[in-house]
């Protein structure tokens, strides 16, 4: 009888279980279910914003060594990786006919020198003739005054004297001309010598050869580099920082550099220069960041991540940036007044790297705000506060 009664009423717990399960799913899903959220209290704090950019290691001073005029490369003395000193011979271009033209000019100069010597000798000869003519002329003039010779003889001597003086002037002029010729030839020779010197490529500074771009036999155009040099001590990171997040970027700020080849090392650095011209296409600002100590083996063109530390903002209320929401075109947070939910518009200031945002206006320390939520919130929506939403249903 007892067992029978037990059997008879055994359906009751089953029915209750079913009812409870049904009630649970109705309450848990659908419009009656509260939205689960995590809540934080607005705290007083300080936000130290950082700027983040990526860049490439670059040499502050790079030199492209090449000829000033087209020519064929004759010899290259150094190779990539070589250390060179200022003035060291790097490469030589084929002078082609320059040496022959210099020899020709030398020969011309020699001939001009002979011409000059002949002109000077002639000048001396004419001087001597002029002196004799002057004496004769003077004598004939006095003889003529004493009526010893005829007037025509006196005039002939006087004319002789005048001609001799003119011959002196002519000889002087031809000597000057020969001298001028010589100067011209010497200048021309100097020009050719200098032209030949430019065919020798020398290192402009102490540095390291980074590239040997042409081999002997190659014809180079004017301005084309045969060798590239850098000053290895002048490496810096050419950093690109999004314009929209570059506020506060200035020279002198401390920075941290992470090279792609050593991702776990944070190298100290400093913003050396902020370029006045920013990239209009990529909408990025350019800043040059130098290393405090240059790590050995840094390669040019290596990618680096740069974090620039800005001065900390003044103390004030801060909230996690996950709490900020956009609603009807306004930025704000969901604030909890007791259990009631309302949207409060806020004005935000600086954001720290950990996601803490400074609140300039709209909230005060101690306010309770929603940080994470599993769905969209509406004013006065039912919420259930949980510690973490990590295990929410997907």
């Amino acid at each position: 009888m007892k067992i029978d009664a037990l059997r008879r009423w055994a359906w009751l717990p089953l029915a209750l279980m079913l009812l409870a399960g049904f009630a649970y799913v109705v309450a848990r899903s659908g419009p009656l279910a509260p939205v689960r959220v995590t809540v934080a209290t607005v705290t007083e704090g300080q936000v130290a914003p950082v700027l983040f950019g990526i860049g490439t290691v670059d040499a502050r001073r790079a030199y492209a060594v090449g000829p000033t005029a087209p020519g064929r490369l004759m010899q290259v003395e150094v190779d990539a990786g070589d250390t060179v000193r200022a003035g060291q011979l790097l490469a030589r271009l084929d002078p082609v006919d320059l040496d022959a033209r210099i020899a020709a000019l030398d020969a011309s100069a020699d001939r001009t020198r002979s011409t000059l010597a002949a002109a000077q000798a002639q000048q001396r000869d004419m001087h001597a003739r002029a002196e004799v003519a002057a004496i004769n002329a003077r004598r004939y003039v006095s003889l003529g005054q004493q009526q010893f010779v005829s007037a025509s003889a006196v005039e002939a001597r006087t004319q002789e004297h005048t001609s001799a003086r003119a011959a002196v002037d002519a000889a002087a002029a031809s000597a000057d001309s020969a001298r001028g010729d010589l100067a011209r030839l010497q200048a021309e020779r100097q020009a050719l010598v200098e032209q030949r010197d430019t065919l020798t490529l020398v290192a402009p500074v102490d540095g390291v050869v980074t590239a040997r771009e042409a081999e002997p036999g190659t014809t180079l155009v004017a301005g084309q580099a045969a060798l590239r040099l850098i000053d290895p001590a002048s490496l810096w990171v050419r950093t690109r920082i999004d314009q929209g997040r570059s506020q506060g970027l200035a020279a002198g700020l401390p920075a941290q550099i992470v090279l792609r080849s050593r991702p776990s090392e944070r190298l100290a650095g400093q913003v050396e220069r902020v370029e006045l011209i920013s990239d209009a296409i990529t909408e990025e600002r350019l800043a040059q960041v130098t290393f405090a100590t240059l790590p050995a083996g840094t390669s040019i063109g290596e990618m680096a991540e740069v974090t620039v530390q800005l001065p900390a903002a003044a103390n004030g209320p801060v909230v996690p940036n996950a709490a900020l929401q956009q609603r009807n075109g306004q930025t704000g947070v969901w604030q909890l007044d007791g259990d009631a939910l309302r949207f409060t518009a806020v004005r935000t200031g600086a954001t720290g790297p950990d996601g803490q945002v400074q609140i300039l206006d709209g909230l005060s320390t101690g306010d309770r705000i929603v940080v994470h939520s599993e769905g969209k919130l509406k004013p006065d929506a039912a919420v259930r506060i949980v510690d973490s939403l990590n295990a929410v249903r997907q």
Binding site: F52, E305, V392
Partner: protein, 397 residues
């Protein structure tokens, strides 16, 4: 008056409950199927909601960015911002890829967004928003990533700093949000071998590699390996304006295609998921018909199993109405248990589905009415059989 149905059910309650549960599981499957359909539609809606846009500006004469591919220059957003009625506009890129997670990979839609503008992730369920302009990611919880994990996309590693929920593509793939510039690069960046080959191909082309023009080859190679394209511009319009009125000048003067929210829903629901939705719908109809048939058979055989008792009832002079009422009540009871089991089961197993299953209360209510109607209809057949029974059968054997 004692409840004849209740007494009968209690008499053999275990069989009744088991039948109800079996029926319930069948109803659960039907409800889940409806939920899968709703889930697909909701995925499409979630995609639009998450973008936060009122207008989608895409390449002219395409139905991008979700249904077709669309490509715009990333400076188009500036001219769109200058159009009347546009409150905010932002570039966005979408591409679906396999994202490596440990040894395996997950299919995800990588979204390139600009922080604080339309297209950025909305509510987070853990972590924080992106604070650096590169190499940080916010991932949907369905990708399986946790805050602090590293995602490798193409060449770069991204740190997951926050998690979202219900941010999926129209195909149900979870989203990974990364900064726009990184996404542009990732979308376009080829592997190193391809880049090296491309350089060699350029260098081998005498038209590009001219001896008298140093620097030309480098410039061409640079131009080939950078990307200034995006897939769409998301626009939020100023409050109080009509979306179509803002869209029209952009179409006319900027020579771009613009979709409003209504048109985008139409594209997603009526075009993108139309075939799969019809597939599910067809299956849902068949399932409903099969369920109805099974309910009818169960109630019919249940009544036939009691045919002798009914004959006895008739013999002792029970009215037809009472007998019919008993069968109807039992059928409805069965339906009620079935519905409750089905709804519970569907809700419990919904999260296990790989894609989103949305169980709408309205669907449940409709399902309840339909289940009750089918049960009532099915009981008619049983009632007819019961009423036709000859009372003599009770003693005749």
């Amino acid at each position: 008056m004692i409840s004849l149905a209740g007494r009968d059910i209690l008499h053999a309650w275990s069989r009744f409950v088991l039948t109800g549960m079996g029926l319930g599981l069948l109803i659960g499957v039907t409800l889940s199927m409806a939920g899968i359909y709703r889930g697909m539609v909701d995925d499409a809606g979630a995609l639009l909601d998450n973008s936060g846009a009122d207008l989608w500006v895409v390449q002219k004469d395409t139905q991008g960015p979700y249904a077709e591919s669309s490509s715009l220059r990333d400076d188009v957003v500036h001219s769109v911002r200058g159009m009347p009625g546009v409150a905010r506009a932002a570039n966005v890129t979408y591409f679906t890829m396999q994202v490596a997670r440990g040894a395996r990979d997950v299919r995800a839609m990588v979204v390139g967004f600009e922080p604080g503008l339309p297209g950025a992730p909305g509510e987070l369920i853990a972590g924080r928003r992106i604070t650096r302009s590169h190499y940080e990611a916010v991932a949907d919880v369905k990708t399986g990533f946790a805050v602090g994990d590293t995602i490798r996309i193409r060449r770069h590693n991204y740190t997951v700093v926050g998690l979202t929920r219900r941010t999926v593509s129209s195909g149900g793939d979870p989203m990974v949000f990364i900064p726009l510039k990184d996404a542009q690069e990732a979308q376009f960046l080829k592997d190193n071998d391809a880049i090296v080959n491309e350089r060699a191909r350029n260098a081998a082309n005498p038209a590009l590699n001219r001896p008298g023009l140093p620097g030309l080859l480098e410039a061409i190679t640079d131009a080939q390996s950078s990307n200034h394209n995006v897939n769409a511009v998301l626009v939020q319009i100023a409050p109080g304006l009509d979306a179509e009125a803002v869209a029209e000048p952009i179409r006319r003067w900027k020579h771009l295609t613009v979709f409003t929210r209504t048109q985008m829903e139409e594209i997603l629901v009526a075009k993108l998921i139309a075939t799969s939705a019809r597939q599910i719908g067809m299956f849902l109809v068949i399932l409903a018909v099969v369920s109805a048939a099974i309910v009818a058979f169960i109630i019919y055989t249940m009544t036939l199993g009691k045919i002798r008792e009914i004959a006895v009832l008739k013999l002792i002079g029970t009215r037809n109405r009472t007998i019919a009422g008993m069968i109807l009540q039992q059928a409805l009871g069965l339906g009620l248990i079935g519905f409750m089991v089905g709804k519970t089961a569907a809700t419990l197993w919904a999260p296990i589905f790989p894609k989103y299953v949305l169980l709408l209360p309205g669907d449940a209510l409709r399902g309840f009415v339909v289940v009750m109607a089918i049960c009532a209809l099915a009981s008619l057949m049983a009632i007819r059989a019961a009423l036709k029974v000859d009372p003599a059968a009770a003693i005749g054997g």
